[in-house]
């Protein structure tokens, strides 16, 4: 009964979505405001029934209803209850339902908080979101309904959740990622609505930007959580593998980064309009492409579990309709929107544009690397795979260039900068950064490593340039400081840019100074690595709720003093009889001690992998900073609904407001 209710609720949600994608548009074209006003209630209806559907699936999981095929495939009565909640999106069908849920959540959030946006415009935006929801709901219902029953032969037990996914990181990671991905559809809907009505002014950018920032911030969190999970759960000790699926989440993020910067130019200066719209379309297309890559199995990856051509075909169809439709619209309508705002070569606009181009190039290189095996195969030129060496070679120089520009862009002015300010404000900082970069590897590691010099120099440059600019901004003309003088969105920028600098430091340090040992350890033997002594005291048998494990007992000593007790595990999950490693990790800000078990050898000895990873935790901190900066920008007063503002606020007045701001 419960699964049928869920299925039925999803169909009702689909009906709401279909109405939503038609009625407001009819209202707009016939100038019938009553019809346009249906958009919001229809959105709420769509959301309500989607969430009912999702809850029904959750209930099926928690109550171990193995007559539902999807539950039987992804759960087990011994699965701990928190993982039963996570198992709802542990497979293909459920993750699609989560996608739809997130999408409808964004739509209703928009409907709730759009009182200061032009009604006809919101109607259009919601209608476009409705269309996307229709596409995904049809996909769910037609090719991957999670409520399908296994009747009459109901299994007594489920096949259990993939042990890789039984982890706290995996409870939070997918919802964050999907929030980010589906959030870009809001920016997309704004862009399409702008193309439809030919209105793309500063006000438009100001409505779009907080939604884009929100999606981007959630995506940042999602990506970092994914990286963190790969680090401690896969037991390979790495934190980024340039796996196609990681790339699928990373590409929309890079384009999203370009988009939030382009939007700020459109918002403040009215420039880059076509470019901004194109980026919004691209960000959403890459999210769909990511879904396609993950779900169709066209690319080999650790993540691609489901491989079903009919599903791949459906997403490709969705992708085709969405992208071809929007790019055709763009081709015909874009130039009508082109702005006339002028700026000199030496201006903030130029630097943001250059940064944007660097980000687009970075995305293109990742996209090429991800799809290259597929392209070569499709052209019958053989089978190849593209690995980290390619990405490191092309991606690192672009990032280096980006960071240089990130230091300059906040300092120089809009439109036209006075000659010589760059040298007077940043000349000394640049010099100091070069000296610091060159000196760092010699002082820290005792030998010169080129990439370390580049990485640390750039991080130093970005931090000092940003802080110097912040200090200038809080200095009052009459002397003294006021932290509230710059806007909250300025502080958001500072925090996010700091996050990038911290990420550069973390990545540089851990890539070049981590140490590793792959060795055989007998019971009661010790090894020494980077000044830490690891003593193996033997194994213990441990029983978990749905697994049995061998747990290694390792004591770590520094200068003869015990500083950590690590317990890495080799688990065998009973239902899927799948082996899993759980690394033993001791974290402080300056280093991680990481021990993972390999295979058992003779006489109780084990193959053991030991790492000392300096400053790897900076990477997670960086993710938090970047995302937090994004949220700070959203909280800026200028994005909040103004109670006094008229509902049919005209573009001219908002333009004027933006121009004076």
């Amino acid at each position: 009964m419960i699964p049928e209710l869920g299925s039925f609720a999803l169909m009702v949600g689909l009906a709401f979505a279909i109405c939503l994608s038609i009625i407001p548009l009819v209202g707009v074209s016939t100038n019938n405001l009553t019809l346009v006003r249906y958009a919001k209630p229809l959105t709420f209806g769509m959301f309500l029934f989607t969430i009912i559907s999702y809850l029904m699936l959750t209930v099926s999981f928690v109550s171990d209803d193995f007559s539902v095929l999807y539950v039987a495939q992804n759960s087990n009565s011994h699965l701990p209850v928190q993982y039963k909640f996570a198992a709802v999106f542990g497979g293909h069908e459920g993750s699609l339902l989560l996608w739809v849920l997130m999408l409808t959540t964004w739509a209703s959030a928009l409907a709730l908080s759009s009182r200061n946006i032009d009604e006809a415009f919101v109607g259009r935006v919601l209608a476009i979101l409705g269309m996307i929801v229709v596409g995904f709901m049809l996909f769910t219902l037609l090719t991957s309904n999670p409520f399908e029953r296994l009747l009459p032969n109901v299994p007594l037990e489920g096949r259990d959740l993939n042990p890789l996914l039984q982890d706290i990181g995996l409870i939070v990671h997918p919802p964050m990622l999907y929030l980010g991905w589906s959030g870009f559809s809001v920016a997309f809907a704004f862009a399409i609505a702008a193309l439809l009505c030919g209105r793309m002014d500063a006000a438009w950018a100001r409505w779009t930007r907080p939604w884009t920032l929100a999606a981007w911030s959630f995506l940042s969190i999602g990506i970092v959580l994914g990286s963190w999970w790969a680090y401690y759960e896969l037991g390979w000790g790495g934190w980024w593998f340039w796996d196609p699926v990681e790339n699928a989440s990373f590409m929309p993020w890079i384009i999203g980064t370009a988009l939030i910067h382009a939007l700020s130019v459109t918002e403040q200066r009215g420039a880059f309009r076509n470019w901004t719209v194109l980026l919004a379309i691209t960000a959403f297309s890459l999210s769909l492409l990511g879904t396609f890559l993950v779900r169709s199995g066209v690319i080999n990856s650790v993540h691609s579990f489901a491989s079903d051509p009919s599903r791949g075909m459906f997403i490709l169809l969705l992708l085709g309709i969405a992208v071809i439709g929007s790019l055709t619209l763009f081709a015909f309508r874009a130039s009508a929107l082109s702005g006339t705002s002028k700026f000199e070569l030496y201006s903030k606009e130029t630097f943001i544009l250059a940064g944007n181009i660097a980000l687009v190039v970075a995305t293109a290189t990742v996209l090429l690397g991800t799809l290259y095996p597929l392209l070569v195969d499709a052209l019958n030129m053989g089978k190849i795979s593209v690995g980290p060496p390619y990405y490191n070679a092309v991606f690192n120089p672009i990032v280096a260039l980006m960071v240089v520009m990130m230091g300059i862009a906040p300092v120089i002015r809009w439109k036209k900068n006075k000659a010589g300010t760059f040298r007077s404000e940043l000349g000394l900082v640049a010099l100091a950064s070069i000296v610091f970069g060159l000196a760092f590897p010699l002082l820290y590691g005792g030998e010169f490593i080129g990439w370390v010099a580049v990485g640390m120099g750039l991080a130093f440059w970005l931090i000092v340039a940003t802080l110097k600019n912040a200090k200038t901004n809080i200095t009052l003309p009459q002397g003294g400081f006021d932290i509230k003088r710059p806007t909250l969105s300025y502080w958001g920028m500072v925090v996010s840019h700091m996050g990038i600098a911290v990420a550069v430091i973390g990545a540089t340090m851990v890539s070049h100074y981590e140490t590793q040992l792959d060795i055989r350890m007998d019971v009661n033997s010790t090894v020494e690595l980077s000044g830490y002594e690891f003593a193996f005291e033997g194994m213990k048998d441990v029983e978990g709720p749905n697994f049995s494990a061998k747990q290694g007992q390792f004591r770590v000593f520094e200068d003869g003093k015990e500083i950590a007790f690590l317990r890495p595990e080799r688990r065998i999950y009973r239902v899927q009889t799948m082996g899993m490693t759980e690394a033993g990790i001791d974290s402080t800000m300056s280093r991680d001690l990481f021990v993972a078990l390999g295979d058992p050898l003779d006489n109780g000895a084990w193959a053991v992998r030991v790492y000392v990873k300096p400053y790897i935790n900076l990477l997670w901190l960086a993710g938090a900073l970047v995302a937090f900066g994004g949220f700070m920008c959203i909280a800026d007063r200028r994005y909040r609904a103004k109670k006094t503002s008229d509902e049919t606020q005209s573009a001219a007045t908002t333009d004027a407001v933006a121009a004076t701001a």
Partner: protein
């Protein structure tokens, strides 16, 4: 002219879409070997069990045989091992290539899990593996009476792989041999 530029993203996507469509019908896991249809490469290496015995290609005897690349560090090889023992028992000669392994571990393995191989080539530096185009272990090659590699199978040879891939090919090779003898 400017209008045409705006169509560039659309065209780019259409090309991409065509590739993605084609990709749907390709199997990324199928790995062809450049060596299929080529003669078995030459080698001169020691064996695992007899440390002083040098073997070459001419020591690989039989009308047809399987060449199994294995290593003690490879989990899949452990899974595969009982199936190989079964296949060897059914009369199909199997030669092993012990790939990038230590002699001590390898001999221990053959002692404790039984030995399905006629002999195992000790390829510690992976030279033969390189010539065979080995990506990893386990991999199994089917070589026919003319010394031509007929199939390269990457992955665990279990009952299913044996029934669907290897057995039919071996039967076919047997038929070819019979045909050539009568003609």
């Amino acid at each position: 002219m400017k209008r045409l530029v705006l169509f560039v993203p659309l065209i780019l996507f259409m090309v991409l879409g065509a590739f993605l469509y084609k990709g749907l019908f390709l199997n990324p896991k199928a790995m062809p070997s450049a060596l299929e249809g080529q003669p078995m490469p030459e080698f001169k290496l020691l064996t695992v069990k007899q440390g002083d015995r040098v073997v070459t290609k001419s020591d690989l005897k039989g009308d047809y045989y399987l060449l199994n690349v294995w290593a003690t560090w490879c989990g899949g090889c452990k899974v595969e091992h009982p199936y190989l023992l079964d296949i060897a028992r059914s009369g199909v000669p199997i030669y092993g290539v012990n790939y990038k392994d230590s002699l001590e571990n390898a001999s221990q393995w053959l002692q404790s899990y039984k030995d399905p191989y006629q002999f195992s080539v000790f390829d510690v530096n992976g030279e033969l593996g390189l010539n065979l185009g080995v990506y990893g272990a386990p991999e199994t090659f089917v070589v026919d009476h003319k010394g031509i590699i007929r199939l390269r199978y990457a992955g665990i040879v279990d009952t299913n792989a044996w029934r669907v891939k290897l057995k039919p090919l071996i039967d076919q090779i047997k038929r070819e041999i019979a045909q050539e003898k009568t003609s």
